[in-house]
């Protein structure tokens, strides 16, 4: 479309303008005549085989790396919900756990299978616990968590919106059912330091839980749910609560309890002294304690790596089968384009 031989710059400008106009006209023409330049991919055998091969070539290494990463993570999982009930109460676990007069301490001994590098994350895992139940998820008041008693519409928190005629802060079923087992870790008679700060999302601490909001009238009802909170600590620092209030997606979930910031050596034996307060016995939920290191992919889970390897290798198999079939009976379509009678 370039116009040559323009004597003056004005001429050039005119020419350019015309060429722009005519180009616009051309594009418009192509548009209305449905004749726009287009890429028309056709799935030719070479394309198909290349795509599948390429997928395999990319996926299998990713899978292997992922798998390796997952294997490098060391994880100790210890179920304690049954062990921590004395033999004599095992027939009626629910009444044991509900009996507030009994001190429910319990000890576990964990053996470290391999050297675990700090930081080692401590999780508690609950199974068959529906934190994603609609009633449960909705039973909170974000305004109250941020602004405290200034926000007084707590209808979404029912029935745990108030007790003794006064509103509770924090209100709702989630807060009320706060997990309250506690753990102490002792290695060779010295207590391991557990860092319980910064276990919640920063955005939650800074923007969802108020710095000036203190627990009030909490866990004061006739029916005590889970743990109680220190009324002198603002909600934004109650990290256990913040972690708990990020509802889990699935009925089996882990929540972070804290971090051990020193390495554990292989064959170390760690004694865990725990208070088994939380009632999962009513609904048959399991409780587990998890110690895990972390990689760039997070915790231990082979699924991603296996899936990558599987998808990658199946694409390679498909591409090979396809190639074989294609070579065996070369295409001839002209003969097929006829009336399907």
């Amino acid at each position: 479309m370039e116009v040559e031989g323009g004597n003056t710059s004005a001429n050039d400008a005119v020419a350019r303008k015309i060429s722009i106009q005519s180009r616009r006209a051309k594009v418009f023409y192509q548009f209305t005549q449905q004749n726009l330049p287009a890429c028309k991919p056709v799935l030719t055998p070479s394309w198909i085989v290349t795509t599948f091969l390429l997928m395999g070539v990319i996926f299998i290494p990713i899978g292997l790396v992922t798998l390796r990463t997952s294997h490098s993570v060391i994880e100790i999982v210890e179920r304690y919900d049954t062990e921590c009930i004395p033999e004599k109460f095992r027939g009626n676990k629910v009444s044991y756990i509900k009996d507030s007069t009994i001190l429910k301490n319990c000890s576990l001994y964990l053996k470290v299978p391999k050297h675990m590098k700090a930081p080692i994350y401590i999780y508690y895992q609950l199974d068959n616990y529906y934190q994603n139940h609609r009633r449960y998820v909705k039973s909170r008041n974000d305004q109250q968590l941020l602004h405290g008693l200034k926000s007084n519409d707590t209808s979404s928190c029912q029935p745990e919106d108030s007790s003794n005629g006064l509103p509770s802060v924090p209100c709702g079923l989630i807060a009320w059912s706060l997990f309250n087992d506690t753990f102490k870790f002792i290695r060779e008679s010295s207590e391991l330091v557990v860092n319980r700060k910064n276990i919640a999302w920063k955005s939650d601490r800074n923007h969802k839980f108020g710095k000036q909001v203190y627990p009030f009238n909490f866990q004061n009802g006739t029916f005590i749910g889970g743990g109680s909170l220190d009324p002198s600590v603002p909600l934004s620092d109650q990290e256990d609560l913040i972690v708990w209030m990020r509802t889990a997606a699935l009925p089996s979930f882990r929540k972070m309890y804290g971090r051990i910031e020193e390495d554990l050596d292989a064959d170390d034996v760690i004694a865990v002294h725990l208070m088994n307060n939380y009632n999962t016995y009513s609904f048959g939920g399991k409780k587990k304690l998890v110690l895990s290191t972390s990689s760039w992919l997070g915790g231990k889970n082979d699924f991603l790596g296996v899936a990558y390897v599987f998808v990658g290798s199946s694409s390679i198999i498909i591409s090979l089968v396809f190639m074989l079939l294609h070579v065996k009976n070369p295409s001839s379509f002209a003969g097929r384009l006829s009336f399907p009678l």
Partner: protein, 978 residues
């Protein structure tokens, strides 16, 4: 009575039939001064008639408004919806069924779980406080909770129902209509008329047309006759080329013929005359071997007619007014060949004749003694004239069927050659007439004249027959002069268009009000009929039926007629059943009166069966009502899509009744256009309208609907699967805004782009491989298996997305910092996967990537991330669970991206594998053409020839098929002779 005032005291009584829909019959009588005058259709003017050749008429109005025959023929304006849309409704019901089923299953599980929460006063899931709850979760009234949950679930899974589909389809269809309107290939420059889609409802229906019902005059033909050839004294004259021959020549690729056609176009300036032969033009016929015969032939043309000359005062040029355009063509031909008819009085006809000896024009006057008029049963007309020399001449012209038997022994000199010629002409779709004459001796004439006058003046009812009988006596022992061939001029490009449509497997039925002969001629001209087709003619114009009609007992006559029609139909059906391919296909030709009986309830199935079995169907003498009834019969009984095309008011019923009515915005007013769904300027545009736009629109809409279902199912099922892990409590896994915006922002534009722009193959290939059209006719792209396939793909994708996500993000930490996933992170990850998967699925199914597609598809995905960022940056009061979820939690986690990639690829894998296998081993038509294109085979003429031959079935009409058939016959003949 030639003054208005004379009618002041005019008193007469008209008795006539009740209002009815028969246009071609009328029974009535006029009682004037105690005398009865019969009233016939000839005395009747229909509503909307136009006066020609006269300034005014005097008449009486007998029916008005709704009682008029024309109105009785009209049908109410219909509301039309396309088949695809009707099927879409069914899919919506189906989806609704699934929705109810899913909700029902969920409710049952929820009910059970809720009931078990509180047993004997003991709480199971105490954290839900089942002891102190609302009706929604009350374990004591679990049934109520389940019912309430059912309603919640209906709302939640409601994303399964693509409500935005209807809106999107409307948008897409309007844009498609704009494309149809804008198409320059369907723009007719001469009248400045583009195609106009008057309703956007039926775009995709254009891609599924199985039967076209076409009007003839004004649609296929331009309603002008051209004198094109003649055979005189056994020699064929005229180098004019008919449209069909031109098309056939182009098909053969003969360069010689091409030249001729080009010349043709330059010279064809005289309306009604398209004759080119230097041997007899400009008086050079004198040098031909049978000059005397040629002279007589031309003289006959100039005298034997009922036309009126009209002399233009200014330049002395003469034009003619004739009852029918073919008669005008004859006189024009005579004029152009040197025999200029210029004056008619009651008793004489005057002609300027070219004298072969002197080469000057001589005025000759013939005294006109008798005119033996044309009638459909006589199929001939004659005049008896006395020339200036005093010889008495009977000049006669008529159809070959009646003329050859009337030749004298000594008049058959050229019979063989002439017969051969007229067969040739008829095959080319020309209307032929045989010209013959005889000299009468005085005595014979006087006797005839007496008898004839007596018969004419008789008052008995069978006056006409009497006259005919007497005329027949004198019209014998004729001497053959030759034959004429007149072309009923087809519109531009009609044979090509019909050929393409036939190759596309579309049936073309011609419904015309014309006479049977004309209709058959046009059948030949359009290549709807060809030599070697066996014609099944069902007619009530036979002599027996004539006599039946005359009989007193009308109902008995009707019954007998019906029986005769039935009998003919059964015979045709037997022929159809017994026919094997070697005998050639059948063609059904039926006239209006027979059609009346054939359309009665007990016969119509038989009629339809026969008609469908025939390669072509021509209904002649049919009234508008019958056209509409035939259309309805085809539409309802075969449940195939019908398209009616017509240009006149008499086609309105048909246009409204058919699934699609296409109006030709031609010369005959706007009525057809006003009641049509799509208006085009020329019949030939139908080819592009159907094969290109129809096919595209059908493909686009059906892919679009399939895709829509797919994407909503994929989305809806992820919600459902999650419910199974949330004890069916009705908690959505996604943020509310994600839910609402799914159909609006992240997935809507690509699907609209698909509906508006996608092309499986370009317009050029659509036209080159008309067989592609069958995809629409057989509804391959919108079959239930395909729809279910897409639905299954949706379910499979939802399963892959959900289960891969929850297994990859189990309880363990999902990033370096040891954080575990929450509901909102799982939701965001799954949603990201859904957006990627459905958009990339779109990219896989699109076959035509313009930058618009790229923009919409990749833009949709990008927009999702932008939205996540923007929404996540808002105050948590607004963004709730999505607050900073992307920037803080997901984006820094490599596993989030790895999961997205894995889920995306594994979701696409099934579809990709499926389409790879299909493309390679079981390709559909459009896929084969894509192959050809990528292989470069499409430009190989031999290859195209082969493909074309494959698309022909024995019943295919059109000139390509005709060419193939004739070459096949030729081959067979040669083999026989060997």
């Amino acid at each position: 009575m030639h003054e208005d005032s004379n009618f002041q005291n005019f008193k007469a009584i008209i008795r006539c039939e009740d209002p009815n829909a028969n246009l071609y019959t009328f029974v009535g009588s006029l009682e004037l001064e105690e005398q009865q005058y019969p009233l016939t259709p000839q005395q009747l003017l229909l509503r909307d008639s136009k006066l020609r050749n006269t300034d005014c008429i005097y008449g009486a109005v007998i029916f008005t408004g709704r009682d008029t025959k024309v109105f009785q023929n009209s049908t109410g304006p219909p509301s039309k919806r396309s088949k695809v849309e009707r099927r879409m409704d069914k899919i919506i019901y189906f989806l609704f069924g699934i929705l109810v089923l899913m909700s029902f299953i969920g409710s049952i599980f929820f009910g059970i779980a809720t009931r078990e929460d509180l047993q004997d006063g003991k709480m199971k899931r105490w954290y839900l406080r089942p002891d102190d709850t609302t009706a929604y979760y009350d374990p004591k009234r679990a049934a109520v909770a389940a019912v309430l949950h059912f309603l919640t679930a209906l709302m939640l899974y409601g994303y399964l129902i693509p409500i935005s589909l209807y809106v999107s389809i409307e948008i897409v269809k309007i844009l498609q209509s704009i494309f149809i309107n804008q198409d320059l290939h369907m723009y007719y420059e001469e009248t400045d008329k583009p195609a106009r889609a008057r309703t956007s409802n039926l775009n995709e229906e254009l891609g599924q047309v199985d039967t076209i019902l076409s009007d003839k005059t004004g649609t296929l033909t331009c309603n002008s006759m051209e004198f094109i050839k003649c055979s005189i004294a056994g020699t064929s004259y005229g180098r004019g080329v008919t449209e069909v021959e031109r098309a056939m020549a182009r098909r053969k690729g003969s360069p010689l013929e091409e030249e001729v056609t080009e010349e043709q176009e330059d010279k064809a300036s005289i309306k009604g005359f398209n004759f080119e032969d230097e041997r007899i033009m400009n008086g050079s016929w004198d040098n031909e071997p049978h000059a005397d015969v040629i002279q007589k032939f031309l003289r006959l043309l100039a005298t034997c007619h009922t036309a009126l000359p009209e002399v233009d005062e200014e330049n002395g040029k003469i034009s003619y007014e004739a009852e029918s355009p073919d008669e005008a063509a004859f006189v024009i031909a005579a004029r152009e060949l040197g025999f200029e008819f210029y004056e008619r009085t009651q008793t004489s006809i005057s002609v300027h004749e070219l004298d072969p000896v002197t080469g000057t024009k001589v005025e000759r006057s013939y005294s006109l003694l008798n005119v033996l008029e044309f009638s459909s049963s006589r199929k001939r007309m004659s005049v008896i004239v006395r020339s200036e020399e005093g010889t008495l001449l009977l000049l006669s012209k008529g159809a070959d069927s009646v003329m050859f038997e009337r030749l004298a022994e000594n008049g058959r000199e050229f019979e063989e050659q002439t017969k051969e010629h007229i067969n040739e002409y008829a095959d080319a779709g020309l209307r032929t007439l045989i010209l013959a004459y005889r000299e009468l001796d005085e005595k014979e004439y006087i006797q005839f004249n007496e008898e004839f006058t007596e018969a004419k003046n008789s008052v008995s009812a069978d006056r006409e027959e009497l006259a005919e009988e007497i005329a027949e006596k004198i019209e014998k022992n004729l001497i053959l002069l030759g034959a004429t061939a007149v072309e009923d001029k087809l519109q531009n490009g009609v044979p090509e268009c019909i050929d393409k449509l036939a190759q596309a497997g579309i049936k073309l039925w011609v419904l015309t009000g014309d006479k049977m002969e004309t209709a058959i001629n046009i059948g030949f001209a359009c290549s709807l009929l060809r030599q070697g087709m066996r014609q099944v003619i069902i007619s009530s114009e036979t002599p027996e039926s004539k006599t039946l009609e005359k009989s007193e007992d009308k109902s008995a006559a009707a019954a007998a007629l019906k029986a005769s029609v039935l009998h003919q139909l059964i015979r045709g059906k037997e022929l159809l059943d017994s026919s094997n391919e070697s005998l050639g296909p059948l063609a059904l030709i039926i006239d209006g009166k027979s059609l009346t009986y054939a359309l009665e309830d007990d016969v119509k199935d038989l009629f339809l069966e026969l008609a469908i079995g025939c390669a072509s169907v021509i209904c002649c003498r049919s009234s508008p009502k019958q056209k509409a009834l035939v259309t309805r019969l085809v539409k309802t009984k075969t449940s195939s899509t019908t398209l009616a095309i017509g240009d006149g008011a008499n086609d309105v019923g048909m246009l409204q009744e058919a699934d699609i009515g296409v109006g030709i915005s031609g010369v005959e007013g706007m009525q057809a256009v006003m009641s049509s769904d799509i208006a085009i300027a020329q019949f030939r545009f139908l080819e592009r309208l159907l094969l290109v736009h129809g096919h595209w629109c059908y493909r686009r809409i059906s892919s679009m609907i399939c895709y829509f279902f797919y994407k909503n199912i994929a989305f809806g099922f992820t919600l459902f699967f999650f419910e199974a892990y949330a004890s069916f409590s009705g908690q959505p896994v996604y943020n509310d805004w994600f839910l609402s915006l799914y159909n609006v922002f992240f997935t809507s534009l690509p699907v609209i782009a698909l509906g508006v722009f996608d092309q499986d193959v370009s317009a050029r290939f659509c036209l080159k491989f008309p067989l592609l059209y069958q995809e629409g006719v057989q509804n391959i792209l919108f079959s239930w298996t395909r729809i279910l396939g897409w639905a299954l793909n949706g379910v499979a994708n939802a399963a892959i997305i959900f289960f891969f996500c929850i297994h990859a993000m189990k309880q363990q930490a999902f990033r370096k910092g040891g954080e575990v996933i929450g509901l909102e992170i799982l939701g965001t990850t799954m949603y990201t996967c859904v957006v990627w998967v459905v958009n990339c699925q779109m990219a896989l199914s699109v076959t035509y990537f313009t930058y618009i597609q790229h923009l919409f598809i990749w833009g949709g995905i990008t927009f999702w991330y932008i939205f996540l960022l923007a929404y996540g940056a808002m105050d948590p009061y607004i963004s709730t669970t999505a607050y900073k979820v992307f920037i803080e939690a997901c984006a820094p986690a490599p596993s989030f991206w790895l999961i997205t990639l894995l889920v995306l690829m594994s979701s696409l894998l099934p579809y990709f594998t499926y389409s790879a296998i299909q493309m390679r081993f079981f390709p559909l038509h459009h896929q084969m053409i894509q192959w050809f294109r990528s292989d470069g085979q499409t430009d190989d003429p031999e290859f195209c020839q082969m493909v074309r031959q494959r698309s022909l079935r024995p019943t295919t009409v059109g000139y390509t098929a005709r060419f193939e058939a004739s070459s096949r016959d030729l081959k067979a003949k040669i083999e026989d002779s060997l």
